[in-house]
Amino acid sequence: MKHLRQLEDQSVYILREAYKHFDNLGMLWSMGKDSTVLLWLARKAFFGHVPFPLLHVDTSYKIPAMIEYRDRLAREWGLDLVVGQNKEALAAGMNHTLGRVVCCTALKTNGLKQLLEHKGYTGVILGVRADEEGTRAKERYFSPRDKHGDWDFRDQPPELWDQYKTTFPPGTHIRIHPLLDWTEINIWEYIKLENIPFIDLYLDKGDGTRYRSLGCAPCTTPIKSTAKSVDDIIEELRHTTVAERSGRAQDEGRGMEMLRKDGYM
């Protein structure tokens, strides 16, 4: 399990760099397996404490079990939870039938932008991984966003050894990605190694299906699987050649590139 400890050491280093350099720092937590591992790594980095707020952009379409899980962990671990929501868009009836990219942009990208703007965060920690999807493979650990939250992937800052971009002009912010080098299997291996509590939607509870990736209920479909434990999941992933996000509708076509350029996670 040496490779997991190496990944952990790197992520902990990045989290401590983020905490050192950003006065107004927040961490996105979607309650999925990745951002929950990220939350665990923060407790590792800060010896059981989480010294910044956890941000959840609530689209209102999340699977209810996710919200219950969120509130339970927040209570048990003493987390400072901040929930943001694009209420205007919801009041105007925004939903996925109006178009998936349209809906994601309004409820997630814009919901996130409103939350960041409202609270004035200059550093945001996210659990994106390079192996999830093509544009995330090209991310930096410390990735700047301009005044509009846009990502200029044509001109990313150099990242040398353990030196990251930690200074930035006023009005802009930095996205911090401590999990870039982790794969989906690494995440589950680590959940097992550290015995991290995770949401049981990832397991088959008897109907021969489970969620492999969690998002909004209308746009996320379970996969056929009989994995009933973390061990089963790891075994299943070792043999699969199906993409992790194949159950995520927003990935179709060039959806993710368009979304991420404009500030999506």
Binding site: M1, K2, H3, R5, Q6, L7, E8, D9, Q10, V12, Y13, R16, E17, Y19, K20, D23, R43, K44, A45, F46, F47, G48, H49, P51, A130, D131, E133, G134, T135, A137, K138, R140, F153, R154, Q156, P157, P158, E159, L160, W161, D162, Q163, K165, T167, F168, P169, L180, D181, T183, N186, E194, R238, H239, T241, V242, A243, R254, E257
Partner: protein, 614 residues
């Protein structure tokens, strides 16, 4: 397709570099396709898109994710890709070859433990082939293989391959780089990628896939002397935890640590960790750890912890090889922020010795600037003493980046320590501090008791500028406020401590400054705020300031310069009092500076520089 599923026990980061269009992304695509590592339908999906757009399918399209990359047929930014082969997990970084994206190539290569460098058999060794080869060496990637691609376009001829190998080996030999293998391949057709080529029976070496398995995991740096750059100091609960990533060696409970450049010392009391049972007793290179010390000493981010027998160098200058990526050229004399491990310090480029042309390694002298994507040999001078190593002995503490405004604009490796004029005094201070006999009351205990830290306020300036007068007023004000301050007047040393010196010897600034500095050092250890002037040095005061700083280091020195008219300031002046000024106002300005520097407890703000509570 032969899919091998195995449980990885280690992971290795590999970068693919080389000149634009020599086939890096194609090689990567082929490697994945031929080992069955692509997700279901990915190949078919990309093939379908190509058919639809009426262009020939290329393996490169599998990883060039951006629309723009596919349209232009080039890689813009590095992509991390993952695959598992024979018990090892690989992160393969596909770096762009176009010279415009050199900073992206460097970002990719700086993360790698091994590299594959591609050369097009038809085009031969090109500009970026050489530059990338040179940069790999500069970035510390010593393990790499050279892949000669597109062998199909030259009829798989061995003589062409041999010619490229000879030419390129000669080039690399000039800076002592030696590839593990030269491999002839056709990435497009799959020759010698995962499967052995039938068209090149003359080649008996490993395939690209076999070469990956032959790359060794980076040699354990744990066997080296300890280097632990302090990343941060936490006090979330009762524990005061010093954190950092060990870049070399090991640290154990009970070890005696020296922090450089402050020379502070303490023993490791515990190694702290969350959700680890039983509590660890040691840490080794690569680990991000936290330790507590047996004594409350004040250490800051940027200091390097080591064992006393094997200390890092300390100086204000070093010589380095630098590559520049900034949008605006690097200029001699301009100020930059230097980062070595976790230390940040202001610096300037004191000299540009030569620009190195990576095409032929020719050297050009006499330049005052280094342009974008150029490599140069420089001398860097820092504002404050810095702990570092030579990159030939310690990788992580022997390299640095330069920050221009908001951006990392260059990186380099330290090749030589440059001796500065403070070297002897610094050594004196180090030897004296290591042998210093402490009482039971530590410096932190005194700070808590007194409500302030020890510091030196040094008034500089020419004759009759009011230094002594203001020094007295400041001392009085500090004591009136309940602080422990003392006016150290040089005149009092002259008649006593310096009574053994002849009149001529008393005129020598260096020795007088040394004695003065050592007395100040003793007073600092008593926890006092020492208020003083450069009066005893007369007009040679500028030569006395630096030795005093060196000897009282790491105590803060607040330098207050007084002058009648505007004049050139001594280096590192904190407060300037020019022309006639109200005494109370002048005292207030010095007090504000003391607060800002964290000497007085009130200065502790939302994110205090000094993290102990008083």
């Amino acid at each position: 397709m032969n899919m091998v599923v195995s449980k990885p026990s280690e992971s290795l980061n590999i970068v693919i570099v080389g000149h634009v269009d020599h086939g890096k992304s194609t090689l990567l695509g082929r490697l994945y396709a031929d080992t069955g590592s692509l997700p279901d339908g990915k190949l078919e999906k990309v093939q379908a898109i190509c058919r639809q757009q009426g262009k020939e399918f290329e393996y490169a399209f599998l990883f060039d994710a951006f629309l723009e990359e596919q349209e232009q047929g080039i890689t813009i930014d590095t992509a991390r890709t993952f695959f598992i082969w024979k018990g090892r997990q690989y992160i393969i970084i596909d770096a762009p070859g176009h010279k415009e994206f050199l900073k992206n190539m460097i970002s990719g290569a700086a993360r790698a433990e091994a590299a594959i460098l591609l050369i097009d058999a038809l085009e031969g060794v090109k500009e970026q082939s050489k530059k990338h080869g040179y940069l790999l060496s500069l970035l510390g990637v010593r393990q790499f293989a050279v892949v000669v691609n597109k062998m199909d376009l030259i009829g798989y001829r061995q003589d062409v391959f041999d010619g490229i190998e000879k030419e390129y080996r000669e080039f690399l030999g000039q800076f002592k780089a030696a590839p593990t293998h030269f491999i002839p391949v056709s990435a497009k057709l799959g020759d010698n990628i995962a499967n052995r080529s039938e068209a090149m029976s003359w080649y008996s070496g490993p395939t690209v896939l076999e070469t990956l398995s032959l790359f060794k995991k980076e040699a354990a740096r744990s066997e080296q002397p300890l280097r632990l750059p302090v990343q941060d100091v936490y006090k979330f609960d009762a524990r005061r935890i010093i954190t950092g990533r060990i870049t070399a060696g090991r640290v154990k409970v009970g070890d005696h640590l020296v922090f450089s450049p402050s020379n502070k010392r303490a023993n490791v009391k515990s190694v702290e960790a969350f959700n680890v049972e039983p509590q660890p007793m040691m840490g080794e290179a690569g680990q991000s750890i936290g330790v507590t010390l047996d004594e409350q000493i004040f250490v800051e981010r940027g200091e390097i912890a080591s064992h006393q027998e094997q200390l890092p160098s300390v100086s204000t200058a070093f010589r380095a090889n630098v590559f520049w990526l900034g949008k605006r050229a690097l200029e001699k004399g301009r100020k930059y922020l230097l980062r070595v491990a976790t230390k940040e310090v202001d610096c300037e480029v004191a000299a540009i010795h030569r620009i190195i042309d990576t095409m032929d390694l020719a050297q050009q002298q006499g330049s005052n600037t280094v342009g974008k994507n150029q490599v140069a040999e420089l001398t860097v001078r820092t504002k404050m003493p810095l702990a570092f190593d030579l990159s030939s002995s310690f990788e992580a503490t022997g390299r640095f980046v330069l920050v221009d405004e908001y951006d990392i604009a260059g990186g380099g490796i330290i090749t030589e320590l440059v001796h500065d004029e403070q070297e002897f005094l610094r050594e004196e201070a180090r030897r004296r501090d290591f042998a210093w006999v402490k009482g039971e009351v530590g410096i932190e205990d005194r700070a808590k008791q007194y409500g302030h830290r020890a510091a030196v306020v040094l008034f500089t300036g020419g004759r009759h500028t009011g230094k002594s007068f203001l020094a007295r007023k400041l001392e009085a004000r500090l004591v009136a406020d309940g602080r422990h301050a003392y006016l150290l007047d040089g005149e009092n040393l002259r008649r006593g401590l310096d009574a053994d010196l002849s009149e001529e010897e008393r005129g020598q600034t260096a020795e007088m400054a040394r004695r003065y500095g050592e007395v100040a050092r003793v007073l600092i250890d008593t926890g006092l705020i020492v208020v003083s002037t450069t009066n005893p040095f007369g007009l040679a005061y500028r030569d006395a300031v630096q030795p005093i700083r060196t000897l009282v280091h790491p105590a803060p020195v607040i330098a207050v310069h007084m002058c009648k008219t505007d004049e050139e300031l001594p280096p590192n002046t904190d407060v300037v009092l020019s022309g006639p000024m109200d005494v109370d106002l002048a005292v207030k300005r010095v007090m504000d500076e003391l607060k800002r520097r964290g000497v007085l407890a009130e200065a502790i703000g939302s994110k205090p520089t000094f993290q102990y509570s008083i």
